[in-house]
């Protein structure tokens, strides 16, 4: 069936809505139980697919498959506790469900009508929580972009329509003028979620104003920042929202073709997108003559093959055209000359995903969220030394403290918070004193970091900030495409200095050179990669200079990370003289006699830590008398 009008959409919605209604916590009168199994990447890695199949098998075996339906759904964001499974009615939330648990679950929950509380989430106080509504992690969020993740089956277009999807598109194509829509986007205050925060409405306006044909719409799904996975989760959980927004953009700027540039390393997202595009084409929501109008719009996928620089828009355009992904100077901006020299609108996945919700509820509503300069919500991925790793969405302006210690559940009790890194390799480290600042584009910039795409990585006292700066610089140096000299050579020289410092060969004047070089690279590089590559160095130098000095002057690594600066010692009180360490030592640096504490010869020791692994009494210490972390 081809969808030609809003009435056609209504009838499709009517068919799927009862299912959705139940998942939103209402009665649906169908007498049906629905099980939602998370099929995002994180849960799939922890075997949610096997869980899904086992559920189907067991339901068939117990003859329950008519009354119980198993669905795949997108990321709930609670990745640490996966695989996640939610049962409706009741919104019962089960965590860490293994295929082995299926038999017991079916018997207890579905047959006997009891709750299987063994699989409930345990909150901070140790209490078991049955419903998603009572889990603080979810209660504290505001989900606009992620509203469909965990609710709909992303592989079924009807379920997206039942959530009022594609209604905005139909209404716009059939009844509205492009200028009015661009006006709404501008008034909403939506800014690009890819990092730089350029006003989205302005971008649309600029591209629409070009009097050249054809034009193109491009979605940047080359989520390259290590530690960021929000775009992937949106594409896996709600692909149609991006397709709808791109089609709207196409109508508004006058483009007929869209491209989604996605990483080949995201197989699930690619598969879901391909499925979504095909389903939309089948019912006439993509392709020639959308909704029976004269407006044609289609979307194709283009694959990134592993190059971080392709997140930069001009490099991305080269890559979409199948070339080496090297950036070029701007202007001309892509809005003027983009793909094949034609005007091109490029936005990031999350930016597009905001648009259907924004148009459904109006710009006044959208403006009600966020801060003066940054409107709406932001999706963040939490990772690193934080208790609840996963995906969250909060209004702009929420403080880092709320994000990390309230929603994120803080860090392990025996560890201390040291810094938080935002913005990936282009961002910086933010120390504890700024935890209460509201998170928006401007504030983060003032602290020396950036919003970036929204990765938040939490670090504790056993992360070395100098080593972290080296880690990021190694990444950007490796990913530098080599086109411009400041980035190609500058990052290399900076990396050499950092490596010297880490190995204990640094001099105090290195710090000045490093800083000077960092500013030069920032100011002189051609594209965003080089201009932001020094940020991790600049921000750690600004807030953690004493750590650099400790490495250089005292030749110690306070966090106990940098191998060359460690010394291993035997704790004489704990040592039981078993001799295992001496046997494990490949270079013969450990000697001892029966009933005497063993000794490590620092001249011979190569700091491989094999003795630490072997010692049954944890009697070998590294660094300045600190017990080896995590052993």
């Amino acid at each position: 069936m081809k969808v030609r009008s809003i009435d056609d959409l209504e009838s499709l919605k009517g068919k799927y809505y009862p299912l959705i209604k139940q998942r939103l916590g209402y009665r649906n009168g169908l007498g049906l139980t629905q099980i939602m199994v998370c099929s995002g990447t994180a849960c799939t890695s922890s075997e949610s697919d096997a869980l899904y199949q086992e559920l189907e098998r067991e339901l068939a075996r117990c003859n329950l498959n008519h009354n119980v339906r198993v669905n795949r759904t997108g990321c709930f964001g609670f990745c640490q506790h996966g695989p996640i499974m939610m049962v409706h009615p009741g919104e019962i939330f089960y965590c860490r469900v293994k295929p082995e648990d299926v038999k017991e679950f079916v018997q207890t929950h579905l047959v006997d009508g009891q709750l299987l509380d063994r699989l409930f989430y345990r909150d901070a106080t140790g209490k078991r929580v049955s419903s998603i509504k009572d889990i603080h992690f979810f209660k504290a969020q505001k989900r606009i972009v992620l509203q469909n993740c965990g609710v709909i089956n992303p592989e079924e277009i009807g379920e997206y329509i039942a959530r009022d999807g594609y209604f905005s598109l139909a209404d716009i194509i059939l009844n509205k003028q492009p200028g009015d829509i661009i006006d709404i986007i501008s008034k909403s205050g939506l800014r690009g979620r890819g990092g730089a925060g350029f006003p989205t409405g302005k971008k649309w306006e600029m591209t629409a104003a070009q009097d050249v044909n054809p034009k193109y719409v491009v979605c940047n799904a080359d989520e390259g920042d290590p530690g960021a996975f929000m775009d992937r989760s949106i594409l896996e959980g709600d692909p149609h929202s991006v397709l709808e927004a791109m089609s709207i953009a196409g109508y508004c700027i006058g483009a007929g073709q869209g491209y989604i540039y996605i990483r080949a390393e995201y197989p699930i997202a690619v598969e879901r997108l391909e499925m979504a595009i095909n389903q939309a084409r089948e019912i006439g929501i993509l392709g020639p003559g959308l909704f029976g109008s004269s407006f044609d719009f289609d979307i194709e996928l283009r694959f990134g093959a592993g190059a971080f620089v392709c997140g930069e828009e001009t490099a991305l355009l080269h890559s979409v055209m199948g070339q080496r992904g090297e950036p070029r100077p701007r202007p001309p901006y892509p809005a003027q000359e983009g793909l094949w020299g034609k005007p091109t609108l490029i936005s990031n996945v999350e930016t597009y995903a905001n648009i259907p919700a924004l148009l459904r509820s109006g710009w006044e509503w959208y403006q009600g969220h966020g801060t003066a300069t940054s409107k709406g919500t932001k999706v963040f991925s939490l990772a690193g030394k934080i208790n609840n790793t996963g995906l969250i969405e909060v209004p702009m302006g929420t403080s880092l403290r709320t994000i990390i210690f309230d929603i994120g559940g803080g860090i392990a009790v025996d560890r201390q918070f040291k810094a938080v890194q935002t913005g990936g390799p282009s961002g910086g480290c933010i120390p504890a004193k700024f935890l209460d600042l509201p998170v928006d584009y401007e504030t983060l910039k003032e602290t020396g970091s950036i919003m970036g795409s929204g990765g938040i990585i939490v670090m504790s006292e056993d992360n070395c900030m100098v080593d972290l700066a080296r880690f990021y610089l190694e990444f950007t140096q490796d990913e530098s495409c080599g086109r411009c000299t400041p980035c190609r050579v500058g990052t290399k020289r900076m990396l050499e200095i950092l490596k010297r410092i880490i190995e204990g060969q640094g001099e105090m004047e290195d710090l000045e050179i490093l800083e000077e070089l960092a500013f030069d690279v920032r100011d002189a590089s051609l594209c965003g990669l080089g201009q932001t590559a020094p940020n991790p160095v600049i921000s750690t130098l600004r807030y953690f200079k004493e750590e650099y000095i400790a490495h250089i002057r005292d030749k110690i690594c306070p966090a106990g990370v940098c191998k060359e600066l460690l010394t291993y010692q035997v704790d004489e009180e704990k040592c039981i003289a078993c001799g295992l360490c001496a046997k494990a030592c490949a270079v013969g640096a450990i000697s001892g006699a029966p009933k005497q504490p063993y000794q490590i010869d620092p001249q011979k020791c190569v700091k491989c830590a094999s003795c630490v692994a072997k010692c049954p009494k944890k009697a070998i210490l590294k660094g300045a008398g600190r017990e080896v972390a995590g052993q």
């Binding site: 960021a228 390393e265 199948g322």
Partner: protein
């Protein structure tokens, strides 16, 4: 590292020699190679008419051959009309493309930030030690290649080890020998289809 297999056949043929060891070599190699180039022809036919699909063709070609030797690059250039210098330029630019043969099993350690702060380094060094190869290396029996990968986005499960398509989340260095052993014995747990 080059083994006794190197007796003159092309790089591609060499990789077949490894795959089909113990069988009647001559015919098998020719057949297999023929089949692979036919599969490549289909891909080229399917995509070469659309603008900018070179990267997709190369990705698919790598799926077929395991890597992209000069012979395959030249073939693609010839068939698509893209200059071979440009094909080679693209192949060498992107990190997903390999120009050297790779092992039957590919272990990749995620070196994203989340994995790094949670000890991916240790997983890497244990793998190096047990496989006796360096990063980017291939074992002499051509069973394993060891690589690092950019963030795979499973940061909630850091540190992450990928064995072919399978993701091992919250990987521990102590589990590494067992994982290697499983693949060595051929008890490969089927990579999951979604």
């Amino acid at each position: 590292m080059k083994s006794e297999l190197e007796k003159g056949p092309s790089d591609i043929e060499k990789s077949y020699v490894y795959k089909e060891q113990g069988q009647q070599l001559g015919n098998v190699i020719a057949d297999e190679k023929e089949k692979h180039f036919q599969a490549l022809d289909h891909i080229i036919e399917r995509y070469s008419q659309e603008p900018g699909q070179l990267i997709r063709i190369l990705l698919k070609a790598q799926d077929i051959f395991g890597y992209l030797p000069e012979e395959v690059q030249a073939y693609i250039a010839l068939k698509t009309g893209v200059p071979v210098s440009e094909v080679n330029g693209v192949v060498t630019f992107y990190s997903l493309f390999a120009t050297e043969p790779r092992g039957k099993n590919i272990f990749k350690v995620c070196m994203g930030t989340a994995c790094y702060v949670k000890g991916a380094q240790e997983i890497m060094s244990t793998l190096k030690e047990h496989l006796k190869i360096d990063e980017g290396g291939i074992t002499s029996d051509r069973l394993f290649t060891l690589e690092t990968t950019r963030c795979v986005g499973a940061c909630g499960l850091a540190p992450v080890l990928l064995a072919n398509e399978r993701v091992y989340g919250e990987a521990k260095a102590a589990e590494v020998p067992k994982i290697i052993q499983n693949y060595r014995k051929g008890e490969k747990i089927e990579s999951k289809k979604h």
